[in-house]
């Protein structure tokens, strides 16, 4: 047992981080929010980095890595709020031709969980294919042929959504097992994205608290702020441990219950993302309430993620079943 990153994993992590830092400095967020935040150039960059085909076998043009590696990558995407249907397209690699290479942009609707209605599809305008998860099937629908009403004002300015009023049945690509697997892997990816949000919210707030002075001193010297930041750090580190463990548990036989590890990671990381983003706004004070500063983008994305691949409440209920079994 060695819970540290391997050299390859560290390289993967720092490579994707450097790329995301370069592509999406915080100054770009407000700019991206003005138009369609789906950026084809960014998307093909992600594809080239292997984000979508990361877990597809090398024989199929993928990178052949595991969910633990995907969790590292998705945490980095979360840190920089990379826009686009990254989780769905990643999940679709191997199921939908062109997904692994990013040429086919895949989105989805999870109708197997508690939050089915209304059918709001993220990044609809950019999609080629829509995957629909139901309790007993996975279907693919041609997104370009689908009618949907774009929502004028999405909650997250970087996550446009469209309302699909009438969903035709699509081509069946799998049954209950596949749906369950995709929901589980999706929850792990959401946990990883949430971890990234929790991390960056803490880092932003810490940096701001060192710089911002009131009453003649940096506000990070006041215990009320210092202790909020300490709690943010603790949440982030616990989330990191849980997310990494979920990935490794999923990839490696005999380590533990896969569904439990992922549900736990999703609950803890979701909580960390939401609470850290809220605390970040509070620590930024008035500036945290402005559109131009990054904190609110993190809260809004955390909110979006909280509705994807099962709510925290659903994962908690599932964990309770395991506990009660």
């Amino acid at each position: 047992m060695d819970f540290r990153l391997t050299e390859d994993q560290s390289a993967l992590q720092s490579g994707i981080r450097a790329w995301c830092d370069g592509q999406l400095p915080h100054e770009r967020l407000a700019e991206l929010a003005k138009g369609d935040p789906f950026d084809a150039k960014l998307w093909s960059g992600l594809a080239e980095m292997g984000v979508f085909g990361l877990r597809a076998p090398e024989s199929e043009g993928g990178v052949g890595l595991g969910l633990a590696d995907a969790a590292l990558v998705f945490a980095e995407l979360g840190r920089r709020l990379v826009p686009g249907p990254v989780a769905w397209t990643h999940l679709a690699a191997g199921l939908v031709p062109g997904a692994a290479s990013g040429e086919t942009v895949v989105g989805g609707l999870d109708l197997a969980g508690a939050l089915g209605e209304p059918h709001l599809v993220e990044h609809f305008g950019a999609l080629d294919v829509l995957l629909v998860l139901r309790a007993d099937s996975v279907e693919r629908v041609d997104a370009k042929a689908l009618a949907a009403e774009p929502v004028a004002t999405p909650l997250d300015p970087l996550t446009p959504v469209a309302h699909v009023r009438s969903l035709p049945s699509g081509e069946r690509v799998g049954g209950a097992d596949l749906a369950a697997r995709l929901r589980l892997e999706g929850a792990a990816l959401v946990a990883a994205l949430s971890l990234g949000i929790a991390e960056m919210a803490q880092e932003l707030a810490t940096a701001y608290a060192k710089e911002r002075e009131q009453f003649g001193r940096a506000i990070g010297g006041f215990q009320s702020i210092k202790h909020m930041l300490a709690d943010m750090f603790v949440r982030q580190e616990m989330a990191r441990a849980a997310v990494w463990a979920a990935g490794a548990t999923y990839d490696q036989d005999g380590v533990g219950d896969r569904a439990r590890a992922i549900a736990s990671a999703r609950v803890v990381a979701g909580d960390a993302a939401m609470k850290n983003a809220r605390a970040c706004i509070q620590i930024y004070g008035g500036m945290g309430y402005t559109w131009e500063m990054p904190p609110h983008y993190y809260l809004k994305r955390a909110w979006v993620l909280s509705t994807c691949f099962g709510t925290s409440e659903e994962h908690e209920a599932r964990l309770a079943e395991m506990l009660g079994a």
Partner: protein, 395 residues
């Protein structure tokens, strides 16, 4: 301890309720958030109607057009306007709940005569000029300078978080008149006309996306000395008068509104599905709603206590900080619950599938400022700890 309203109070309630029942529907729905001319017309128009009917300045002196009613009648007013979902004070906020009460308490007779009746009639929109980029929680460290030249102050500085600056005719402006005095001792409180040369207004979009706030730059703006409220360099004390009004009952209507909002969230929970049930079928969610209702009831009882106490002293007490702390965090939790109940519909800020996303999300996003503005929760806890409990000051 008598929570019964008197017969006179109840007559006032009946009369007000009847009037609101007629007038609120007639005034129509509020205009879109971005349409400022329409919002000004809507808000000031409503204020004018209140004035004409004798409901403006419920607790302001009759001499200046107020109704000078008792504390209990004010409560009745809050309850009934909230109950009727009457238009919010909107652009009249600073004039009616901030600057106006300060002038009532501290202004000269000329200032009272000049401003109070116009504020009550909806003829004078006010804006705020308190915070600065370097003076937020530490408001008293503000740097905007006012140099006296003859009978004018020449004002230079940079204000931020100015509510309604782009539609305001007058600004409650804090300036430093003595740069050499200790920071709390060199501040003055000015009524600054916003049409003066040298004022530049730059809108400041918030995370809710809209434009109530601005940054305002003052470049050698010449404000008459007669527009100063109170003595020169006594502005910090006066500011605290202003803030006490804000922390006390300025949000009273909002507090009652919140009870209605919680009811709406419960109603929503009965409509939205979770698997094969509704969200309301969940015992945990119901208890959460019940808990919030208990807190809202406690809050409103606390406001009544505070109003009863203030009726004697004439000034909101320090418990305003306790009310603000509790109210703002409670508001955030109530409104956050609304977003949670929306489920996936909460990804849209426009109503989708007949669910009230626009309003619920807007309310929650706006609520995020409540624990920051008008003295952050951290500042309020310091006030409660130091000024009420007598704990040692921060070093």
């Amino acid at each position: 301890m008598d929570l019964r309203y008197s017969a006179a109070d109840e007559r006032f309630r009946a009369e007000l309720r009847a009037w609101l029942a007629d007038e609120v529907p007639k005034h129509g729905p509020p205009p879109p958030a971005h349409d400022w001319p329409a919002r000004v017309a809507y808000d000031t128009g409503w204020q004018r109607k209140l004035f004409d009917a004798g409901y403006a300045g419920i607790n302001w002196p009759k001499a200046y057009g107020g109704r000078e009613l008792s504390a209990t009648e004010q409560l009745v007013y809050y309850e009934e306007t909230a109950r009727a979902a009457a238009p919010y004070v909107g652009v009249n906020f600073v004039g009616l709940l901030h600057g106006g009460p300060t002038i009532v308490a501290e202004g000269s007779d000329e200032q009272k005569a000049k401003h109070l009746p116009r504020i009550l009639r909806g003829e004078e929109v006010w804006c705020q000029g308190f915070s600065e980029p370097g003076a937020g929680s530490d408001l008293a460290s503000l740097k905007t300078r006012a140099v006296r030249v003859g009978d004018e102050y020449v004002v230079t500085g940079h204000k931020i978080w100015c509510s309604f600056a782009h539609v305001g005719e007058f600004c409650e402006l804090l300036v430093r008149t003595d740069p050499d005095a200790p920071k709390h001792r060199g501040i003055s409180w000015l009524i600054c006309p916003m049409h003066l040369p040298g004022i530049e207004i730059r809108p400041l979009p918030t995370l809710a996306g809209e434009g109530e706030f601005s940054e305002v730059f003052f470049n050698d703006v010449r404000v008459p000395v007669s527009a100063r409220v109170g003595a020169e360099n006594d502005g910090w004390r006066i500011t605290n008068v202003t803030l006490r009004f804000e922390r006390g009952t300025a949000f009273a209507s909002e507090m009652i509104n919140l009870q209605r909002v919680l009811g709406e969230i419960a109603a929503l929970a009965k409509r939205v599905t979770r698997h094969d049930a509704t969200a309301w079928d969940d015992a945990g969610l119901r208890r959460e709603c019940g808990h919030l209702l208990a807190e809202l009831d406690a809050l409103w009882a606390m406001v009544k206590r505070s109003v009863s106490e203030a009726a004697q002293s004439g000034m909101p007490g320090l418990e305003g900080s306790a009310i603000k702390l509790y109210y703002t965090e409670l508001f955030q939790r109530v409104s956050e619950l609304g977003v949670r109940v929306l489920g996936r519909a909460g990804l849209a800020r426009d109503d989708v599938a007949g669910l009230p996303s626009r309003q619920l999300i807007h309310r929650h996003l706006n609520s995020l400022s409540l624990t920051i503005a008008a003295g952050s929760s951290q500042i309020q806890r310091n006030i409660v700890g130091e000024r009420i409990l007598g704990l040692p000051k921060d070093r």
